[in-house]
């Protein structure tokens, strides 16, 4: 009985988190279109509902009812597996993200503000987020199209060059909090914004993290895998209908995920920036910070043009990697000196 109740609670939690994340994904596309169009002196979607508010739902319905085409020369199994291989890692990472501070108690049942708090949280997310690249590579390969293959290859190269600095930039917060658990990491940043790791580790690892995160999620200015002006749509050129929407969902879910990790690792998670602001619920702080990072993503997309591919690689290997290595060294030495 006890076990059944706990299982039910966990299932409900998972369903709730998935629901909220997917809703956010849907409306992130809307927000992106609106913010982009405002920055370009346009109006964006205006037709469906007041100010186009129902546009994501209309888009979803349209994609759902579209014909699902598998190209003649495609490898059917890999072609249909790769959208799932992209989407699942993007959604699975949310399992360890702590959204708030306090657990909700209903009778004996405790509802935590995270699905699970495993003690290798960050490692888990890093591992799964790199799995997403397999889906992209395989999808590009299985499509039997030169554009898709080029997109997939670019994605693989990009992931290799940006995975390393991404992991190394997160070493700073891990060293300071002495934990890989997202919950412990958030608790270690309590007290005010000067305790957040964006200040404590100098902003350099945070900037490296943001750049790498953008590259990881294939967003502008690093959207070379799907560069529409060169590669049609890159790795998902041949996809249509539901499979296409899976890639789309994965991209936006990944955006939210990396923003969540950025907030937890560098911006203090659900901590308020000042002690006197703690009356505002932690979840509000968490969401505000995530929304800010998401806005920054969109903002950057409206501003910066796409990089050339060799520039992208050179920037990753010649600047980001050495810089993040140096920062790891500096942070660990500083930590050693300060504790001894």
């Amino acid at each position: 009985m006890e076990l059944a109740a706990q299982l039910l609670v966990i299932l409900i939690q998972i369903a709730a988190v998935m629901g909220v994340v997917l809703l956010h994904v849907a409306y992130l596309t809307y927000a992106e279109r609106k913010v982009l169009s405002d920055m370009q002196d346009r109006l964006g979607p205006m037709e469906v509902g007041p100010h186009g508010l129902l546009q994501p739902i209309a888009d979803g319905l349209k994609l759902f009812f579209k014909e699902d085409i598998i190209p003649a020369g495609a490898n059917k199994i890999i072609f249909s597996a790769s959208p799932i291989l992209v989407l699942v890692p993007a959604l699975i990472g949310f399992a360890v993200v702590p959204f708030g501070r306090d657990s909700l108690h209903i009778g004996d049942v405790e509802i935590t503000p995270y699905i699970t708090d495993i003690n290798i949280g960050i490692l888990y997310i890093l591992a799964f987020s790199s799995l997403g690249a397999y889906g992209i590579l395989l999808g590009g390969w299985a499509s039997n199209s030169k554009y898709a293959l080029l997109g997939g290859l670019r994605s693989a190269a990009q992931v290799i060059s940006y995975e390393l600095p991404l992991g190394l930039s997160l070493v700073g917060p891990i060293l300071l909090s002495e934990s890989l658990s997202m919950m412990t990491m958030t608790h270690a940043q309590a007290g005010g914004f000067w305790n957040w790791y964006v200040v404590k580790t100098t902003p350099i690892p945070f900037v490296i993290y943001m750049i790498c995160a953008i590259a990881e999620t294939n967003r502008l200015p690093f959207d070379l895998p799907e560069a529409e002006s060169e590669l049609v749509a890159g790795f998902f050129t041949e996809y249509s209908g539901m499979r296409f929407s899976f890639f789309f969902l994965a991209e936006y879910a990944n955006m939210i995920l990396v923003s969540c990790i950025g907030v937890v690792a560098f911006l203090g998670g659900w901590q308020a920036p000042f002690a006197f602001l703690e009356f505002i619920p932690p979840i509000v702080w968490f969401l505000a910070k995530v929304y800010f990072l998401l806005f920054f993503y969109i903002w950057l997309r409206a501003t910066v043009p796409r990089l050339r591919f060799d520039q992208l690689m050179a920037f990753g290997w010649k600047i980001m990697l050495p810089l993040s290595l140096v920062m790891v060294l500096v942070i660990s030495v500083a930590k050693y000196i300060l504790t001894h």
């Binding site: 405002d38 920055m39 002196d41 346009r42 109006l43 903002w299 950057l300 501003t303 910066v304």
Partner: protein, 184 residues
């Protein structure tokens, strides 16, 4: 010193920050260039050349005299005029049939310029999308109603004097007076 400055600028991504500032300014300005077309229509300039229409005099009579000069001027051969003599005014002609093929028309306005009696005009009608192509073969009646819609102020009919009318009457009865040699 200069090198140091440029290095510092590179390190803090000064160029990108400048760009971000610009886009954010546009976000705050909230200026919109887009027109929500079906809901909000553009104000067209006066010289706009839409569908060609026929005009009427202020007493409701059509102006066209069926001279076919528009047909001759039309570069895409979209105008067909079939003219005939009027019953009430002998030697006066009118367009018995006038067909404008809007599917061929290039809206150049040459016909309007060619018309000697100003019977044609460019309206501001441009929403001609239809599911039935036959509605785009406009006859004289359709063009006249469209002309009424777009040009409510009509030009005055030139007034003929009484002896002009009597001449017409005479012609109707005995035919056109042929010029004779020696007569004044």
């Amino acid at each position: 010193m200069k090198l140091k400055q440029s290095l510092f600028k590179t390190i803090i991504f000064s160029e990108i920050l400048k760009g971000l500032q610009l886009t954010f300014k546009h976000l705050l300005k909230g200026k919109v260039i887009t027109q929500q077309y079906p809901h909000q229509k553009p104000t067209l300039p006066d010289g706009y050349r839409g569908v060609i229409v026929h005009l009427r005099y202020d007493d409701g009579a059509e102006i066209c005299v069926g001279c076919s000069l528009c047909e001759a001027a039309c570069p895409s051969h979209c105008i067909t005029v079939e003219s005939a003599e009027r019953e009430d005014f002998p030697q006066k002609r009118y367009a018995k049939r006038y067909i404008l093929d809007v599917t061929k028309c290039v809206f150049c306005g040459f016909c309007v310029q060619a018309c000697p009696v100003d019977a044609l005009a460019s309206s501001k009608e441009y929403e001609m999308a239809t599911t039935d192509k036959r509605t785009l073969m406009m006859d004289k009646e359709a063009m006249l109603t469209l002309g009424d819609q777009y040009f409510p102020i009509r030009q005055k009919r030139p007034q003929y004097s009484e002896d002009r009318f009597s001449l017409f009457k005479q012609m109707k009865e005995v035919g056109f007076p042929l010029a004779k040699k020696g007569s004044s």
